[in-house]
């Protein structure tokens, strides 16, 4: 019934060792039962060490990629910012809000972002990703600075003297005249 006119492979003929149950499942390609069960010799251990180093290098590389990720969005954000203009409108405010909020949120989640890369498994060795994290935070801070710069472009930063005008106390008059 299952056959019909569809093509299918029957691996039962290849592997003689059936697994438990009536249905036998074929191991995937490249799967080594011996390595998986840990019943391999020291040779295989040595092979595992080099493997872990490679993995760590890979993870470090991956971490750099993650760290640089926000940097790639910066030009995009700048473009969006430019498109929305420096006027105070709903779009420019939304975009500026996004530009400002994204780095903050990302910085907050630095630990979670790098956690899977820092330690592959529970027993795996912890990878030192300080540099990547620093770069990650720095790039996000750059994003934030860009957001703040944009705020100042929009005139929303109280940097001008006019922003503090209302807080200047009126002068006391030393004399009275009529």
């Amino acid at each position: 019934m299952a056959s019909g006119n569809k093509v299918y492979a029957d691996f039962t003929s290849l592997v003689g060792k059936p697994s438990r149950g009536s249905k036998s499942v074929v191991d995937p390609l490249g799967y080594d039962q011996a390595i998986a069960s840990g019943s391999v010799s020291s040779m295989s251990l040595a092979h595992g060490k080099t493997d872990e180093e490679g993995d760590m290098a890979l993870r470090a590389k991956k971490a750099w990629e993650v760290a640089m990720g926000p940097g790639k969005t910066l030009p995009m954000q700048a473009f969006m910012a430019w498109m929305s203009g420096t006027g105070v409108s709903i779009f420019s405010i939304l975009i500026t809000g996004m530009i400002l909020m994204t780095p903050v949120k990302t910085i907050m989640s630095t630990k979670q972002t790098f956690a899977p890369l820092e330690r592959a498994g529970k027993s795996a060795k912890k990878l030192d990703l300080t540099m990547q994290k620093a770069a990650f935070v720095a790039i996000n801070i750059a994003g934030l600075i860009f957001g703040v710069y944009r705020l100042s472009l929009m005139g929303l930063l109280p940097t001008a003297s006019s922003d503090w005008l209302s807080f200047i106390p009126a002068k006391q008059y030393m004399e009275f005249s009529a």
Binding site: S162, D163, L165, K171, Q172, E175, S177, A178
Partner: protein
């Protein structure tokens, strides 16, 4: 089927009918109709009233007034039928009425004779005489010729005969400056010109000069002097005239008991001698010495059949008046007593003649009216006997408008009407037997010199009022105030069904009578003083001080009078100069608001009186101070005992002193405890060439303890500001009232700030330069330093084109007339009125500011002044600026225009920084309008809309409780009050805002929540089980 159709039709018709009815009964309340202003047309206190009934039985009441107005009043209502307002420089000297024509003589050296149609007020024709160098002061008279429309007039230094539409006189006679001619007696073929002769070395005594002129040729028949020691207008002589018997001069020589009667034109004998016995009076020689003569008619020529005059004397402490008639019997003069009566307590005897229509034929009745001046008004008319023909009486309190000073008689049908005038400025028409005037006009306000707004106590429904009754501490926190407001609203809601759900007269809470029309319905003495304000501060008391001695309080919202009080010293009205609210009642305190009035007596002495500002009750006496004051101002401190604000009164003299009011030791100590020194300036009056600054000095403690009314602080001259040679002061202006500023600087387009230079001591001086033009000086009143000066070489300042200025915040706005420059090469591009704005900043560079927390005039900083000029659309008579509570709202500049408009233009229009080229990005960001040389006369910006508000001399503004809205008051001759919102009514709901919709929507949402809640909860529970 058919029945069904007709039923539907009937139903439709019923619905249509119902809907048409519902619109038919709709009406608007005054506030809904946008009635936010009130207007009152005035004429001023009449100096002469001529009432004349013509043969067609129409009566004209014509008056010329101290405010230089010629007006015609409707005899039955007192409303203005028409009025002609003369230029202030062209004084109206005389009014004559003949038939349907009225004649006025006005002006001085340059004299004008005008003939008006008495019914319509239209100018029939006019004649002007150019100024004459030999003109004698006060010279001028005019009279109609008999049985002709020609006019004889003394104009300048000439006597002219004018015929209608004259291009030049029929003839002109030069008078050669021999006398100051004030009187004309016209007869059939000759006329007599009478004047006060010029004193010469040969004849140094005053006397009358008479010229007899032929009317046909204008040639002098004879001229002579008569009546030594006499001058026209004195109570020792009288000029009487009649058509039949000619004209006479009757006089009594000083210290003489007999009358000299001179018939005009008679030379031999010069005069006859008469004795009082001839008129059957009991005059003893002693009584005769103090007797006075008086004329009876305002326009003697109008009804000159038999000449009449009055003689008033005192016998046995009783004042008596007799009316004497002159007749001729066989070429011999006879004097006849018409009527005599007691005229105790200074009765005014006025007379009026009217062509009395009776039984078809017109006949003239000449009656005499006597009006009692003190106490209740009582009057009697006499015809030919001692028995009064008509009489009337009504209760009148002289403390409201002062005693009666003049009376005129006119007829409404066959019934007489007595027109009385009081010294305060009341004009009222009385009818026989009536206990109230037929109509009255309060003309005192046409002479208002100062006005102030008084905040009225909070209404009974306000939180303040409720808190006062229960627990004043509730007001301390905003939250409890809010709760209190809800409680009060809920209480009033409970009373809502009882009031028929507000359907009956809810919106007409302001039940004051509108006084834009003539107040025939108003009671002469206001019965219900206004004691309660409204929630938004629109209803205030506007308290006026007038030069006629009346202090009057009017509702700022409707113009209804709340109270009036007449102030007099020794029978003379106190000319009030300033009114001050010297104590404001606190919402929760039981102290009354006080009003302090500063004025002067007839002798010029300073007068101070304190009144209860809400009721007008005079508290204590009127204090006549033993000095003359030149200036009165508020001092920034209060007397501790009475919490009354101190007033400073600068006295006259070469070493002026500063008196204070209240003049108590307590107040003097409070003055000396002032942290800042007190400076004041003197000499800022027109014609002066020097401004002087003084500083008040505090004496020793012992002297303060013995402080009394005559005490004053000595002063030291701290500076003198001399105008450059060849310049005299034209006008000076200063800040009016306390200045509030919301922002201390102006934000520019690049968000930098130009800091405002606000100097409360700034005085703007304008001088007339001999070399031509006007000089402008900004002077600091404390240090006497010149802060800024400018010269407008093309400006010209004359009485007809006055200089006006107003100061607000850091701006000075002034207006002048620009004509071809007298300075060579200084040709103006245009001729017209120029408005200049000068705005002062701390520095020309943005963000540069004097950082010190205190401002001293002795600091060496000078303002950076930016100016610009505009062409004004029309001549203005007054300038003002709107004021709001915190000055967050932009201001409007207010112009009282001579065409009778009150124009309001936005402040931004007067910005000197308006770009003259294409505006830059920063300028655009700042919101600057590109410069336009002329100010628009936009009909939408005319606050007075259809009302013609003549003679606006003062514009005042007061804040309301709504920041967006300010009250605007303009007064002068007419009164116009309104309120305006320069930046729109941003803090009010628009009239179209539907509160019903809001409530329904809120309720719908609440119901939606209540209904939807359980449904949503059930759905969520079901979802959790799924």
């Amino acid at each position: 089927m058919l029945g069904g159709h007709s039923l539907t039709r009937a139903a439709l018709a019923a619905v249509l009918a119902a809907s048409s009815f519902s619109t038919a009964v709709q009406g608007l309340f005054p506030d809904e109709a946008g009635r936010i202003d009130w207007y009152r047309a005035q004429i001023g206190v009449p100096k002469s009233i001529v009432a004349h009934t013509q043969e067609d039985r129409t009566t004209n009441i014509l008056a010329i007034t101290d405010r230089n107005v010629l007006a015609s009043l409707k005899p039955d209502s007192g409303e203005i039928a028409w009025r002609q307002i003369f230029d202030p420089t062209e004084r109206i000297n005389a009014l004559k009425v003949r038939g349907s024509l009225a004649l006025t003589h006005s002006g001085g050296s340059e004299a004008h004779v005008r003939v008006w149609d008495a019914q319509s007020g239209a100018l029939a024709w006019g004649f002007s005489q150019p100024p004459s160098p030999s003109y004698k002061a006060n010279s001028g008279a005019a009279e109609f010729l008999r049985k002709s429309q020609d006019v004889l007039a003394v104009v300048g230094d000439s006597l002219v005969r004018l015929s209608p539409n004259p291009s030049k006189p029929v003839w002109e006679l030069a008078l050669n400056g021999t006398a100051s001619y004030k009187r004309l007696v016209v007869q059939e073929s000759v006329a007599f010109v009478i004047g006060d002769a010029v004193r010469t070395k040969r004849q140094p005594k005053p006397r009358l000069h008479v010229i007899e002129v032929s009317l046909k040729t204008g040639l002098v028949k004879q001229q002579y002097d008569v009546g030594t020691e006499q001058a026209l207008g004195r109570s020792s002589n009288v000029v009487v005239e009649s058509n039949e018997y000619g004209g006479y001069i009757v006089w009594r020589d000083d210290k003489n008991i007999v009358w000299n009667v001179h018939r005009l034109g008679m030379q031999e004998p010069m005069w006859d001698i008469y004795h009082a016995k001839l008129v059957q009076s009991e005059l003893m020689p002693v009584d005769m010495l103090t007797s006075t003569l008086g004329e009876l008619d305002a326009d003697p020529g109008l009804i000159a059949d038999k000449p009449r005059f009055t003689l008033t004397y005192t016998k046995d402490t009783k004042v008596k008046t007799i009316v004497i008639e002159m007749t001729h019997a066989k070429d011999k003069l006879e004097l006849r007593k018409v009527v005599g009566f007691r005229s105790d307590s200074a009765i005014v005897a006025g007379s009026g003649g009217a062509t009395l229509p009776s039984s078809g034929a017109s006949q003239t009745e000449r009656a005499v009216v006597a009006v009692r001046t003190s106490g209740d008004i009582s009057w009697r008319t006499y015809a030919n006997s001692k028995t009064p023909t008509h009489s009337g009486e009504f209760a009148y309190d002289t403390a409201t408008y002062g005693p009666v000073t003049a009376a005129t008689l006119y007829y409404a049908g066959s019934e007489p009407r007595v027109l009385i005038q009081t010294s305060g400025g009341l004009v009222a028409a009385l009818a026989p037997g009536s206990n109230a005037p037929v109509w009255f006009r309060d003309e005192s306000l046409a002479h208002a010199t100062d006005m102030t707004f008084l905040e009225l106590p909070a209404p009974a429904s306000s939180a303040e009022h409720a808190a006062k009754a229960t627990d004043p501490s509730i007001l301390a926190s905003p939250m409890s105030r809010y709760v209190l407001r809800w409680v009060e609203t809920a209480k009033s809601l409970a009373a809502w069904p009882a009031s028929g759900f507000g359907l009956f007269g809810g919106a007409s809470s302001d039940a004051e009578p509108g006084s834009s029309s003539q107040s025939t319905l108003e009671a002469l003495v206001p019965t219900t003083p206004l004691t309660e304000g409204d929630h938004f501060g629109f209803r205030k008391l506007s308290i006026f001080g007038t030069s006629t001695g009346v202090v009057a309080a009017l509702s700022s919202q409707s113009g209804a009078r709340s109270w009036t009080h007449y102030l007099a010293d020794n029978g003379t009205a106190v000319a009030i100069d300033r009114v001050f609210i010297s104590r404001r009642s606190q919402p929760l305190a039981n102290t009354a608001s006080l009003l302090t009035v500063v004025g002067r007596t007839g002798h010029g002495n300073a007068v101070v009186a304190t009144l209860d500002a809400l009721t007008g009750e005079l508290l204590g006496d009127i204090h006549v101070l033993p000095f003359k004051k030149v200036k009165a101002f508020e001092l920034p401190t209060t007397e501790s005992a009475t919490e009354q604000q101190l007033l400073g009164l600068a006295t006259t003299g070469s070493e002026p002193r500063l008196a204070i009011w209240p003049a108590t030791a307590d107040a003097a100590k409070a003055f000396c405890a002032l942290p800042e020194p007190v400076f004041f300036d003197l000499g800022a009056s027109s014609g002066s060439s020097q401004l002087r600054g003084y500083r008040a000095e505090c004496p020793a403690e012992a002297e303060l303890d013995a402080w009394k009314e005559s005490s004053a602080f000595s002063t030291s001259r701290s500076w003198t500001f001399d105008l450059p040679k060849g310049e005299v002061l034209l006008a000076a202006s200063e800040y009016r009232g306390a200045q509030t500023t919301a922002l201390l600087g102006r934000v520019l387009g690049d968000r930098s700030v130009l800091y405002k230079y606000i100097n409360p001591h700034l005085v703007t001086l304008a001088s007339r330069r001999d070399a031509g033009g006007i000089g402008i000086y900004f002077v600091d009143r404390v240090s006497g330093r010149l802060l800024y000066s400018a010269v407008h070489e093309t400006a010209s300042a004359s009485d007809k084109q006055p200089f006006l200025a107003t100061q607000s915040e850091n701006r000075v706005i002034y207006q002048f007339w620009q004509e071809s420059g007298s300075v060579e090469g200084a040709q103006p591009r245009s001729k017209g009125y120029v408005t200049v704005v000068a705005e002062m900043f701390e520095s020309d560079k943005p963000d540069t500011r004097d950082e010190s927390k205190a401002f001293s005039s002795f600091d060496l900083s000078l303002p950076h002044v930016i100016t610009t000029a505009f062409m004004a659309p029309e001549p203005a008579t007054a300038l003002g600026v709107t004021r709001t509570g915190s000055q967050i709202t932009t201001r409007d500049v207010l112009f009282g225009l001579s065409s009778g408009k009150l124009l309001s233009l936005p402040d931004q229009m007067f910005d000197p920084r308006r770009p003259k080229k294409a505006p830059t990005k920063d300028e655009q960001a700042e919101g600057l309008m590109p410069y336009m040389p002329s100010l628009p006369l936009d009909p939408k910006r005319v606050l007075s809309h259809g009302n013609v508000v003549f003679g606006i001399a003062h514009i005042k503004s007061a804040p309301t409780h709504l920041e967006s809205t300010s009250l605007v008051a303009s007064y002068g001759l007419d009164l116009f009050f309104t309120h305006t919102s320069p930046s729109g009514t941003f803090d009010q709901l628009s009239p179209s805002f539907s509160k019903v919709n809001l409530v329904v929507t809120t309720l719908a949402l609440v119901i939606g929540c209540l209904l939807g809640g359980p449904m949503v909860r059930r759905k969520l529970t079901n979802q959790a089980w799924a």
